[in-house]
Amino acid sequence: MVNGTVTGVLAENGVGIAFGIIEAIVFASWALMFAVLLGILVTVTVMRRRRLDRLARTPPAPSADPRLPALLVELRRSDPHFDPELLLEAAQIACLVMFAAQSTGDEQVIRHLAAPSFWRTFFGRYVRTQARDARVQRAAPKDPDRASSRQARLPVDYQATAPELIGLELGPQQRACVRVSFYQLRAVVAPGARAQTAMASATSLSSLAVSLGAVVGERLSEAATGPSWLSWEGQYDLAFIRPGGSHTDPDAAVASRTCTTCGATYRSELATTCANCKASRPLPWGEWRLADLTPVE
């Protein structure tokens, strides 16, 4: 009987300790999660504010390398069909397919345009993560009764404008840098969309707190599903590489429209293989591949 009582007390103590540990873990994880989230939001908000202040004070970043005309002449000597226009097109399309990958989760096209080294850069990792999230969201089962199923971030407009060749390096590996301005507009369809989008663009701690409160409030009250808007605007420097000694194929622009193997026409700009014979689609700009992307700060 004494043994039974001791066992019972020990069991009670054991259960109590286990619950205590679980409680501590749960409490600590909630605290840590809020601390990390708040830390990220505060850091981004403060950085954004500083950037706006800095932009108001300092002139825009310098553009083209002064050695560029001479380097272009040298490159044309070894590659007479080299056309900088094709690189500018490549930059516009690369920006757009990155936007596509993040919106729809389809990484095929950006993989077709990018060099393997791109995926080791910050933006490569970022695009891959965003694309994966988009795929997971699309694959999630839809229940029209649930608010989370009525959420969508829709690509509405995208423009990559004023592309400019600003740098060229010749050598064992050729490297071209193109600066391009981009603008994208997304519609956010979700309950409480307005507060969600306001949080994404907050530039002060007070606006951040207000929009965070509004998001929670609108979620709890199951606010009507309505569209709101988010736009991004900025400049990227895109670095393209190709092996030294490469030559531009003057027929590549046509080959990227009509399959050279079976003669079928590519109906989709986002197609990377021929729908008819599955042959790989050549790129109009030949061997140039996207290697890195840096926002112009």
């Binding site: 999660m33 990390v36 990220i40 981004v44 970022y126 694959a139 969508a152 690509p155 306001a198 900025g234």
Partner: protein
């Protein structure tokens, strides 16, 4: 999600957790038909099951950060401080400011500068006619309308520069994949030159067209209207045409007259922008005017 795609461990843990919680919420009478059925089972046994479920649901909610944190920290480690810095380097605008804040038509150039630009072009190219370009802009607007409404970029192949065409086609496909549709019917009722310039490399003419009609964008699955509406309206669009500085108006009129600038045949292009008869690439802007920019007022 692609079958067999390998996710990092932290993501797998979180997705397993969210899958379980989704299943739990769906079967716990929170919503939907299953919930309504469960509410009908109000026997003592049914009540006990409901109570257990409520306890499990509470436990799942409490444990949320335990499953969320590893993924969050792993992602933060991946992007690091650079990610935060880059995130802050992009201008993000939300709400109505995002929708209406960009795309306002640039102010017209002074009339004297427009005349000087047009005169510089006409002096070098005796066949240049402003009227031919403005008439073309009216026709181009109709084809742009068809292209956007049908989601088919092929309508624009005969006048868009190669780069713009690729981007236009890709954007239409992207919108289609995201179930964004555009309905409408509009036409240009007026076209005026609002900018003209000539540089050693390129000649550019910006034409502003006044459009009348209606247009509406929707999200197909939810039916939520995004932009526009069924009521008729009037708005402006800027079409910028450009060509190489040494290009001359072809004798038969070129692209504005629906003729191949190389061989003069009625315009019929393959998807690569080459004439079906002479195989000349005519939409590169080397031989004739092409549309290099299409800007719409925010709507």
């Amino acid at each position: 999600m692609a079958a067999g795609e390998k996710l990092p461990l932290t993501e797998r843990i979180f997705y397993a957790y969210s899958g379980f919680s989704r299943w739990l919420f769906n079967t716990s009478g929170q919503s939907g038909a299953a919930g309504k059925r469960a509410n009908r089972n109000s026997t003592p046994w049914g009540c006990a099951i409901t109570l257990i479920r409520v306890v499990i649901v509470l436990g799942v909610v409490l444990l949320f950060p335990v499953f969320m944190l590893p993924m969050m920290l792993a992602r933060f480690a991946l992007v690091g401080r650079k990610g935060l810095r880059y995130g802050a380097s992009v201008a993000i605008v939300s709400g109505d400011a995002a929708r209406w804040g960009r795309g306002a038509m640039p102010a017209d150039e002074p009339v004297a500068r427009i005349r000087a630009g047009l005169a510089a072009i006409a002096t070098r190219d005796q066949g240049f006619r402003v009227r031919a370009l403005t008439d073309w802009a009216v026709g181009v607007t109709g084809l742009l309308c068809r292209s956007v409404v049908t989601g088919d970029a092929a309508w624009t192949r005969t006048f868009m520069a190669n780069g713009l065409y690729r981007a236009h086609q890709a954007l239409l496909e992207l919108r289609d994949r995201s179930d964004v549709t555009c309905e409408g019917s509009w036409q240009a009722v007026d076209a005026t030159v609002v900018g003209a310039s000539r540089s050693p490399l390129v000649e550019e003419v910006r034409v502003r067209v006044t459009c009348q009609g209606w247009r509406q964008e929707r999200h197909r699955p939810t039916g939520v209207p995004l932009r526009g509406g069924p009521d008729p309206g009037t708005w402006s669009e800027d079409l910028t045409f450009a060509r190489a500085a040494d290009a001359l108006t072809p004798p038969v009129g070129g692209l504005p007259a629906n003729r191949c600038p190389s061989c003069g045949a009625a315009i019929e292009l393959d998807p690569g922008g080459a004439c079906r008869y002479c195989q000349g690439i005519v939409t590169a802007g080397r031989h004739d005017w092409v549309l290099v920019s299409w800007q719409r007022e925010p709507w």
